[in-house]
Symmetry: C2
DNA sequence: GGCCGGCATGTAATCGATTTCTCGGATGCG
DNA sequence: CGCATCCGAGAAATCGATTACATGCCGGCC
């Protein structure tokens, strides 16, 4: 039992050549039914499992899909990964999850490792959108960008501009002085949500005030610090639109430290908040179909892996206003 | 640029044999300095990267460590994974993250895939502790169990009994009727925390009442349902000790649905809650060193991978009472 | 009836690395 | 000065699969 059976063992036991065994296990075509049966029986008897390294070496592909995301602790990304995982597993691929912590260096290291592993394909939410697709397109590995765009590859993103407009407009119904805390502007989610925010302002004839805008890093502590800065302004904002869930939680913490009645400042988040953080449902929020996003990305990736050659496609998924304050 | 340089290309450019190149890149011993230099120069010039599949095929090992956990969305596990990741990456391994959703079937499927991939080692938080180590020990792959124990392999766990005693005792300071919602009793975390709960009760001379104990599944919805059951009792509990963070959040939701003043029922969670869910810090909680847990597990796994052969070891990490109600 | 085509099967090359074995030159010792 | 030893480097086997090519058998067609 110690040693693992290999293809040639199966071949010997079944009394056929290794080529035939391989054909039975893969093509299944053009092999006499009787031999097929003998092979399958021998395979079962020996408990044969193919060696994916050897196979991968020959076919130049590993049945592994790499997923590179900036933050495994963010529910948005974990749900998204679920979406990818479910589809990808159905198709026999293993999922490798890599966490970049929103840092370019880690991202690069992981991409190198994944390319080394000759993964069959990659889904990535790039730290910076200027990333050069070229560097791994070289290796011929299909790539799909998710949530954030990237040049030259298939992308699945949210309609950030529309979503941000919807959220900001809702805040503007009951406030004039609306601030925003965005993610890094080098990410498309950061810059596009800012665009939406500005458009919503101009739609109702309000000028953009630079002091009401803070660029942060999508982390709880980043949101916390940014909110403190906004709260320290001479003229405090009446509402704050946060670019993601973690920063909204940070802002919430900051607000409750500074104000006796935290509800004086309306809060909004692009991503939904866990129930426990907002039992009253006061925070304006979008329903972001993260699971679906993942599925779409996986779908496109699988098509590429199967050889689809067309030009880069892009899918934009809509969001929906979820909760209303009051 | 299209094709990737291989070892023999480097050898040709450097004017040496492939064996020499391999020696330079691995042993680095016993090769004339001049040749070493030529090889390294050729390598740099071609941008050579080794093919991990080919190498793995020959050395029978893949520079990948598999991590199998029941819930990627649980911060406890994501922090734990961070701990593993950091240590493992320093040592040149890639981390494959697999999510079992607390179901045995998925767990098994992932283990098979990982064994197929010939990962160098595995860290697992098993869905059921009775899992047979034998089935993959066979493949000779080192395994470390984390958070939950498993027979015959190295384990890193929390001191669940002591932790549960500490939490329950704290609740008992201000309440007599203390209920508990545990995780599945087939997990060691589930059963041991129940043991701690019972011991704390008996320490102060209170009998265990079966109706005050509900077994759930570590999910938010499971905690929610369980809490509703407890709240429907004729004689309501005065406090509830939840086996993990998600169930505590679920219980919190249930409580706030049933009671006008949720603070009437004291709540405790074995794992810490996100700040936003408990701004006042009323919930009794343990500091669980999840990151450290992961590091220890990774440490032991690396030792095994490097050939350590001793008997199975087990490390128990202490927790600490974190917040106090009132 | 002989030849050709097609198809099922086997043989052997191949993927890209590591590693054993071998060989030749240099060194050391008697 | 000659022989044994040691060591560095190359040739070739090897890991375990896939697959191009060779082979042999069968049936059909002229």
């Amino acid at each position: 039992m110690a040693a693992r059976a290999k293809l040639s063992d199966v071949a010997r036991l079944a009394g056929v050549s290794t080529a035939t065994v391989s054909r039975v296990l893969n093509d299944n075509d053009r092999v006499a039914p009787e031999l097929v049966e003998r092979v399958l029986k021998a395979k079962a008897e020996l408990g044969y499992r193919y060696n994916s390294l050897a196979r991968g070496l020959r076919t130049r592909a590993n049945a592994v899909v790499g997923v590179v995301i900036p933050d495994v602790t963010n529910p948005f990304f974990t749900d998204l990964v679920r979406g990818i995982e479910d589809l990808v597993r159905e198709n026999g691929y293993l999922l490798v999850l890599c966490n970049t912590d929103e840092t370019a260096a880690k991202e690069e290291a992981y991409l190198e490792l994944l390319v080394d592993q000759q993964v069959a394909g990659l889904v990535i939410a790039p730290v910076r959108s200027t990333i050069e697709a070229a560097s791994f397109d070289l290796a011929g590995i299909p790539v799909v960008a998710v949530d954030r765009t990237m040049n030259g590859v298939d992308t699945v993103t949210l309609d950030n501009v529309r979503g941000a407009i919807a959220v900001t407009s809702r805040l503007l119904e009951s406030a004039r002085r609306v601030a925003t805390i965005t993610g890094p502007l080098v990410t498309t989610t950061g810059s596009e949500r800012l665009v939406g925010y500005r458009r919503a302002l101009s739609d109702v004839g309000i000028d953009f005030e630079p002091e009401l805008f803070v660029e942060a890093d999508y982390s709880e502590s980043g949101g916390y610090a940014a909110a403190h800065r906004l709260l320290a302004l001479e003229e405090r904002p009446e509402a704050i639109f946060c670019g993601n869930h973690a920063m909204a939680l940070g802002a919430m913490r900051a607000i409750s430290e500074v104000l006796d009645d935290p509800s004086e400042i309306a809060l909004a988040s692009f991503e939904p908040l866990p129930w426990a953080a907002d039992p009253g449902g006061r925070v304006v929020t979008l329903a972001v179909p993260s699971y679906e996003l993942g599925q779409r990305a996986a779908q496109m990736l699988l098509e590429r892996i199967r050889g689809f050659e067309g030009p880069a496609r892009s899918i934009v998924v809509q969001t929906e206003l979820l909760r209303t304050p009051r």
